[in-house]
Amino acid sequence: MAFEPTAIKAVSASVTPAPGVRNVPEVVKLIDVSSCIGCKACEVACQEWNDLPANVNRPFFGSYQTVPDLDWNFWQLIKFNEIQRDGRLIWTLTKYQCMHCGDPGCLRACPAPGAIVQYANGIVDFVQENCIGCGFCITGCPFDVPRLSPTTGKVYKCTLCSDRVSAGLEPACVKACPTKCLSFGTRDQMLAQASYRVEQLKANGYDKAAVYNPPGVGGTHAVYVLPYGDSPEIYGLPRDPSVSFVDVWKGGLRWLGNVVIFGGIIGAILHYLRFGPRRVPAEEPVEAGAAPRPTEPVPGDGGNG
């Protein structure tokens, strides 16, 4: 863990309050899709800094993308999406990684105490030490980010370089980016920079340019500037990501389950106290040698036998 417990503001599967007391500003990684040139320096920096042994030597699969998808050992990926719009070909080079949601579905889905934490600065981290490998976070995440390793049985994802950030450095990907497509700073700074960039793009004819900071997940700590902001799908980003499924799963169903379990147990106890055990009186034993003379059956025994 990169941070002190005093910086943890939310802990998975915890019924008691998180220990965080530090008052630190929230951070954001801003990704200006319009200035990405697809050089993949960020991918290399990520693999390097995190010592990830990814095997990227694979047959060509019809794209410039390094690998088809994120993996347990590949935490951020430039997606090379080829899209047609207004009769033109657009290559949306989109950096893809954990969004570090304000209301992280992964954390709420996680059943293992302390396996997912959210720091006061907004970074969401997986603590593999406490991970039990159930993969619930994969379904809780609206962005399809966490990946299970078949060898360790634990999940992994982008940490937003929580170790570097805690030491006052920017994430490795941001440091490596040669075009300033990536920037890192406090949430306020970055959101102001994002709006400024959107205005610039609009002035340059991208009238649909917009900031992607979806409210359905409580805002994110990886924020995008999208030139075609009206259709986030072309960048591989969900239009309205939300954690409403997690609400049903970890809210309604849990409630129902507890009503059935505790209601059932309490109901059984009350029934027993009121209607007691139902015993059938033993047949009057017959003495050995005597003719078997069963007593009359007692089908109507009401239970005080």
Binding site: T139, G257, Y272, G300
Partner: protein, 219 residues
């Protein structure tokens, strides 16, 4: 009191095989229930520690699920013929409020199983099959689409809740309310009075066969 020779009349209710199958279903189910509840609600998480550790429980739970479903299907095979609901069972179901409050008048006699037991049986079979199908999806989360996984979580949780609710009633009936039942599922025999009182139609079927045993007993 002087020791006297006495006779008890017992009725064979469950064969050894039936008892082994039942307890295989029961033990696997209880493991699945406790390990599942550990992941369902954090205050139950300690069950996972008792069962050998949370990461281990996550690995073992699906295999026990397979064992459970195999045992459950064997149970289906051996009991399906005794579990068919008939006309008198419908009458019995209408009389449930009386049955549940200890009155006997107007409650029709049952066959080998009463209608409540039959419904429990079907509940567990249907829930078991749905738990298996949804469980396979949750076993390998990386192999299935998000929509399928979400549907599976809802189905798995709902069916588990229904099965556990049914089990609470079942344990209450078998262990506490209907005294003498447990002997049937443990030793295989029940007293003749029990058979007549709770499963009158069944008793008349086995009356006069080798299922009714007269046993010497001592005070």
């Amino acid at each position: 009191m002087a020791v006297r020779e006495r006779r008890r009349v017992l009725v064979r209710r469950y064969s050894l095989f039936e008892r082994v199958v039942h307890w295989a279903v029961a033990i696997t189910f209880v493991y699945l229930m406790l390990s599942g509840l550990a992941l369902f609600w954090p205050p139950f998480f300690w069950f996972a520690h008792v069962l050998g550790g949370p990461a281990l429980v996550r690995i073992v739970h699906p295999y026990v699920g397979i064992a459970f479903i195999v045992a459950l299907l064997v149970m289906l095979g051996i009991w399906a013929k005794d579990m068919v609901l008939d006309r008198l069972d419908i009458e019995w179901l209408k009389a449930v409020p009386r049955y549940a409050t200890g009155q006997e008048e107007g409650v029709p006699e049952s066959g080998r199983f009463n209608a409540g037991q039959k419904l429990l049986f079907y509940t567990q079979i249907v829930a078991g099959i749905l738990l298996l199908l949804s469980g396979i999806v949750l076993w390998f989360p990386m192999q299935f689409t998000a929509g399928l996984r979400q549907a599976s979580f809802i189905i798995h949780d709902l069916m588990a809740i229904i099965a556990i609710g049914a089990l609470i009633v079942h344990i209450y009936m078998g262990l506490f309310y209907i005294r003498g039942s447990l002997q049937g599922m443990v030793e295989g025999v029940v007293s003749r009075a029990w058979a007549r009182a709770h499963h009158g139609r069944w008793y008349r079927q086995v009356e006069g066969t080798s299922a009714v045993i007269t046993e010497e007993a001592h005070d």
